[in-house]
């Protein structure tokens, strides 16, 4: 099976989800072609990383038109490649750009569009994904018809393999971009300050804070632990609504749906709307002073205690063990 992967990157910085998708594609392709599609600039810096996940081919289109107009030029380039080479499946990361591109491509090519999968397998020559519905309480099998079938993949669904290799690199220009795609003009880009931490929807470890923190200044406690773990920082809606932390970090039904390797909830009660965004995390730790807090029902490890004592002590302990 020929499986293509749209690389998610920002400039030269390749997002981990891209390597996860490439690794899975390689596993499922049964020796078929695994192509990475790099749109935009920065391939020079990212090439090695992409190659490490073992694609057989990399298509690179770094025409500046891709950055000048929103989404449509990228769709034109991808559509023309797909029409020419007819891959069986295309994997796209579940991000704002990824979803926009995938939705347009599916509408244009008449392809199925399987959304937000957290698992993928090959069955009778078909890729079957798993979609966690209703906040992860139901696991639904789904797949995409069409050439290619399009699958939108959640970060942290697959592990990264690094077989290495030297893929053939094919440069393509932006000649597929139609005039009608030059209308939604990007006039300014403001890159968000991340404090050097991974974004919650990308992070493989997340430390989240809730109302139990008591105020915005106390997010420093959560950030301290996050930094020892190389984690992203999340927040409950109560904390976000109070203006303590930016809304991009909100986890839950009306925030991000995340499934990291490790999710540490500090001072979060675990309301159903919060759990809907994080209960598919592989390991859940809760620190809360209320033994009745619903978060404990889904915790793999829970500490009933004052987060202001437990979290700083844990941070110091982990720093020591990691240093050792």
């Amino acid at each position: 099976m020929n499986i293509w992967v749209l690389v998610e990157h920002d400039g030269g910085n390749v997002k981990k989800v891209s390597l996860e998708m490439l690794s899975k594609a390689r596993e499922l392709s049964g020796g078929g072609e695994v192509a990475a599609l790099w749109l935009g600039d920065g391939h020079g810096e990212g090439a090695e990383k992409v190659a490490s996940a073992g694609p057989s081919k990399v298509y690179v289109c770094d025409d500046s038109i891709l950055g000048e107009f929103l989404i449509s030029p990228a769709v034109d380039v991808l559509a023309s490649l797909c029409e020419e080479h007819k891959p069986d499946a295309l994997l796209v990361a579940s991000t704002t750009d990824g979803k926009d591109i995938a939705a347009r491509l599916a509408a244009r090519l008449g392809s199925g569009l399987t959304n937000d999968i957290t698992a993928l397998e090959e069955r009778d020559g078909k890729l079957v994904g798993t979609y966690p519905a209703f906040g992860g309480s139901l696991l639904v099998e789904c797949w995409s018809e069409g050439t290619p079938g399009i699958y939108i993949v959640k970060p942290n669904a697959f592990s990264v393999e690094a077989p290495g290799g030297s893929p053939e690199v094919v440069a393509i220009d932006g000649s597929a971009v139609q005039d009608s795609s030059k209308r939604a003009k990007v006039t300014e880009v403001q890159v968000a300050e991340s404090g050097g931490r991974p974004a919650v929807d990308e992070a493989s470890v997340i430390v989240s804070g809730g109302r139990g923190l008591g105020g915005p200044e106390n997010f420093a406690v959560v950030e301290g632990l996050a930094d020892v773990l190389g984690a992203g920082v999340g927040a409950s809606r109560a904390a976000v609504d109070a203006g303590w932390y930016p809304h991009q970090s909100q986890v839950g039904q009306t925030g991000k749906t995340v499934s990291p390797q490790l999710y540490i909830a500090c001072g979060i009660s675990g309301a159903i709307q919060h759990r809907a965004g994080m209960q598919t995390s592989k390991n859940i730790v809760a620190i809360n002073k209320d033994p009745e807090a619903p978060i404990f029902a889904i915790a793999d490890f829970g500490v009933v205690g004052d987060l202001f004592k437990v979290v700083p002590a844990l941070t110091e302990e982990l720093a020591k063990r990691k240093g050792a």
Binding site: L70, R104, A106, R183, A192
Partner: protein, 261 residues
């Protein structure tokens, strides 16, 4: 300016959600149906623009007959002028792409609109797919995930809340815009609004009436397929410790044992 707001009915988040035997959302419990929360933001955004610039707001909904209630109880009372509801058995089970096609066809019959506003996602399936697919089918510029909208002559400009930060994006109208949570504070319908809504025009169309080719929609014609599903296996009970001053060390051990460091 004339604005069409695409709005959908979804199950209330607090209500229990189920799948019916064909893998589509079970909507049999009508009492729990609400206007998709994101579409309140879309409706509010449209009302604000019309209040500033004059014009009309039309709600467009593809959904079951029972969704009329949601239109009469929420979207119209907020202040929209009229609604179009496309209702047809043939539409049942349409995926995001098929829904977008149906909306695009229905839009062809709305004369002289400047903007189509959608929510950035519906809270039932959390797709975030219909707005872009709709841009594709209509051939109109798509300005997605707007955190703010402004209209300047015949240009619409948004702040797009992307993955990497904010992008300012502009296009000539007509255009398609999807809005994120928090773009505004949706108003509550007033008593007067609720009364007035009872008599607002609601144009009900079947698929043929909306110009929809039924071989493009519905469960069977959707290219995204749903197979079997199962309940997520219940989580095994975890280890819960009371902090005696040493819990941090036990937690650190546990993290280490599970190779999470």
């Amino acid at each position: 300016m004339n604005i069409v707001v695409c709005a959908k009915q979804v199950p209330d988040t607090a209500a229990e959600k189920r799948l019916s035997s064909d893998g589509t959302l079970d909507r049999s419990n009508d009492a729990d149906q609400i206007l998709n929360p994101l579409d309140e933001y879309g409706t509010e955004a449209a009302l604000k623009l019309v209040e500033a610039n004059g014009g009309e707001v039309t709600i467009l909904m593809v959904g079951p007959k029972s969704a009329t209630e949601t239109l009469r109880k929420k979207a119209l009372p907020m202040g929209a002028d009229k609604a179009i509801q496309v209702t047809d058995e043939a539409l049942h089970g349409s995926d995001a792409v098929a829904t977008a096609y149906a909306l695009a066809q229905a839009l062809k019959q709305v004369e002289g609109f400047d903007l189509v506003i959608l929510g950035s996602e519906s809270t039932d399936a959390r797709g975030s797919l219909v707005p872009s697919a709709l841009s594709e089918f209509t051939g109109l510029p798509g300005l997605t995930f707007a955190k703010s909208i402004e209209v300047d002559g015949n240009v619409v400009r948004i702040q797009r809340e992307g993955d990497k930060g904010f992008e300012t994006v502009e296009a000539e109208m007509p255009a398609i815009v999807s809005v994120v949570k928090g773009i505004n504070e949706p108003r509550y319908p007033s008593f007067k609004g609720i009364m007035a809504a009872k008599n607002k025009p609601l144009d009900e169309k079947d698929a043929a009436g909306a110009g929809i080719d039924t071989s493009m929609v519905g469960l069977a014609n959707s290219k995204s397929k749903v197979g079997e599903w199962k309940e997520r296996p219940p989580k095994e009970a975890g280890t819960i410790v009371e902090d005696d001053g040493e819990a941090f060390a036990k937690l650190a051990d546990w993290l280490e044992e599970n190779k999470l460091l």
